[in-house]
Symmetry: C2
Subunit: 273 residues, 2 copies
């Protein structure tokens, strides 16, 4: 077991997973984090399960070598490529379970829609987790393949983004789902657009907050060793080491935007491959 | 020098480069080809120059190990990452030169627009090649980052594709360019949409045909050893070995569509990395 002072590792195909890291920073003020964004191979969600599994393993092994005490898979496509037999030397957290539990906590009519990448939809991890937790629940899925490039390009205020959100919202409305899981870490950036399109009758689930709650519970129970109180603290220097496999001009700007009011060290280039 | 019977290697970040391979198959009926689509790391055009150069080198080395007699870089983003000192053991063909020469052959008002990926635009290879060949030429560039995912998703008939083409066409019209280079191998799939939007006053340049002409010239002159006449022939079994780094469900369907009436062997998975 790695020491209590070790950081928590977080990874995603790119920088979208910073929306998950933000929730962790909010909830866990004493912890430090190492974030890996595999920007050189972004996106994952259009690729096959076997390729995504290979990338997942490389990310996990990279973080284990850096001595992390727990790993958060902040990517739905990678989470959905996990298999029951997978086992690593530190606790591993993924986003499908927390997202499913959040949805179950709020749905009243037991009709849940999942909007996700092609890979996540094809893997079927959300329907199978939701139905395992609550047999008989009705689940609808839709792949939204253009939303990742829209967010990566910073086009969330563009009319094209609104048009795509309108299309993907219609499956929710047509199927009378009262709960939507935004099953890709990029999509919360479009949360406001979805909220306006869907109105108050539909609840949009935030899996990152549930994930942060669950990790906080495990730090309290000792399943993961908690950092000593006040060792870093909310007011201290950045608690995030930011590593990317392709260092584009916008990495630090995106990190500042996604993590505010928290900060990160300037992004550095690493090789996973 | 590899033997005349060796195949010609062609690579791209994905399957868009099959539009270039099609032109080569049309023009060079006696030659065989090995095509590599780096679909596991697609797209290249949103990534940094140093990452694209690393991928370029891996593709070239992979093809050299397979004994090709020449290599075609059927990807504008990779072509634009080549540097003057680059040198390999077989002749290497890229698409920026042929595209520039095609544009110069048709422009009358000497105003040329280049539509390309972010990486190609940032690298400035087209303006610098065009102005080297014809000093004083006026060149406009525009990055079109969503067109690759639109084509990859097979959405070229979608109103969203028309809206994006309309936006990108306006730079051509506003700047009174009479010639447009579609500087990404995916964009010719949207050629008809661009043609309707731009009308007859603007010529859309097809760099793959010029590239095929230039390679044919080199096969005739002996710079590249030509396969013996009739050894394969237009009526023979597929002349294309199709290799990809991520084997998605649509690879063979896309290959059939992009290469018709030519065919390819079923796609096989390889690792460049």
């Amino acid at each position: 077991m790695n020491p209590a002072s070790a950081p928590i590792g977080v990874f995603d195909s790119g920088l979208g997973g910073l929306t998950v890291l933000k929730a962790l920073l909010d909830r866990l003020p004493d912890e430090r984090f190492v974030y890996v964004g595999d920007t050189a191979r972004l996106p994952y969600g259009t690729k096959s399960r076997s390729t995504i599994r290979r990338y997942l393993q490389q990310n996990v092994e990279f973080l284990l070598k850096r001595g992390v005490k727990a790993i958060v898979v902040a990517c739905n496509s990678a989470s959905s490529a996990l298999e029951p037999g997978d086992s690593w030397s530190v606790p591993l957290y993924e986003v499908i379970g927390p997202g499913s539990r959040s949805a179950l906590a709020v749905t009243k009519n037991r009709r849940v829609a999942v909007l996700a990448t092609r890979a996540t939809v094809a893997g079927g991890a959300y329907p199978s987790k939701l139905q395992e937790l609550s047999p008989g629940l009705t689940v609808f899925q839709e792949a939204c393949p253009l939303l990742v490039p829209i967010v990566e390009e910073g086009m969330e205020a563009d009319p094209l983004a609104r048009e795509l959100v309108r299309r993907h919202s219609s499956v929710v409305v047509d199927q009378a789902a009262d709960t939507v899981i935004l099953g890709c870490t990029h999509y919360p950036v479009l949360g406001e657009v979805f909220r306006r399109m869907l109105g108050d009758a539909v609840t949009i689930v935030d899996s990152s907050r549930t994930l942060a709650d669950e990790l906080q519970g495990d730090l309290r129970s000792g399943r993961v060793a908690a950092a000593a109180d006040g060792r870093v603290g909310a007011g201290a220097s950045p608690r995030v080491e930011l590593l990317v496999t392709d260092l584009g001009p916008r990495a630090d700007e995106l990190a500042a935007r996604f993590l505010a009011p928290h900060g990160a060290e300037p992004a550095r280039l690493v090789d996973l491959g």
